[in-house]
Subunit: 82 residues, 2 copies
Amino acid sequence: EAVPRSAIELRCQCISTHSKIIHPKLILNVNLTPSGPHCKNVEVIATLRNGREVCLEPTAPWVKLIIKAILDKANTKPKTAS
Amino acid sequence: EAVPRSAIELRCQCISTHSKIIHPKLILNVNLTPSGPHCKNVEVIATLRNGREVCLEPTAPWVKLIIKAILDKANTKPKTAS
């Protein structure tokens, strides 16, 4: 079973964060890593449809909105297995 | 460059969600996948310190609180590279 890269990395993964807003449709998934001994920053990494991984700024309002939108969509969806 | 497993999976990754509350200290990272053609459910997968991956219920209040807590911590941390 593969362990996600972020689970085995021992230091920060983001050296900088993407400055421009990314359209939610382009985002495949978002990974949130709390700060910890490996890195004192909270890291938010989005995987895009084109396969690229970009670091997002966790304090940016649009980043929080995208995360909220993903979760809110769960409330409005039927919960049957597909 | 490795593409995260969730980026290449073509179907739902969660068959069920973990029913009990998980202490935030045990969580290494949280991955959010919006619903899409591959899966009609929003999927929230936490990687734990013991290496296990567990599916969380995106509509559960404690799950939303954990995600909010991770992001909120970014606001209170100094933003220098480590």
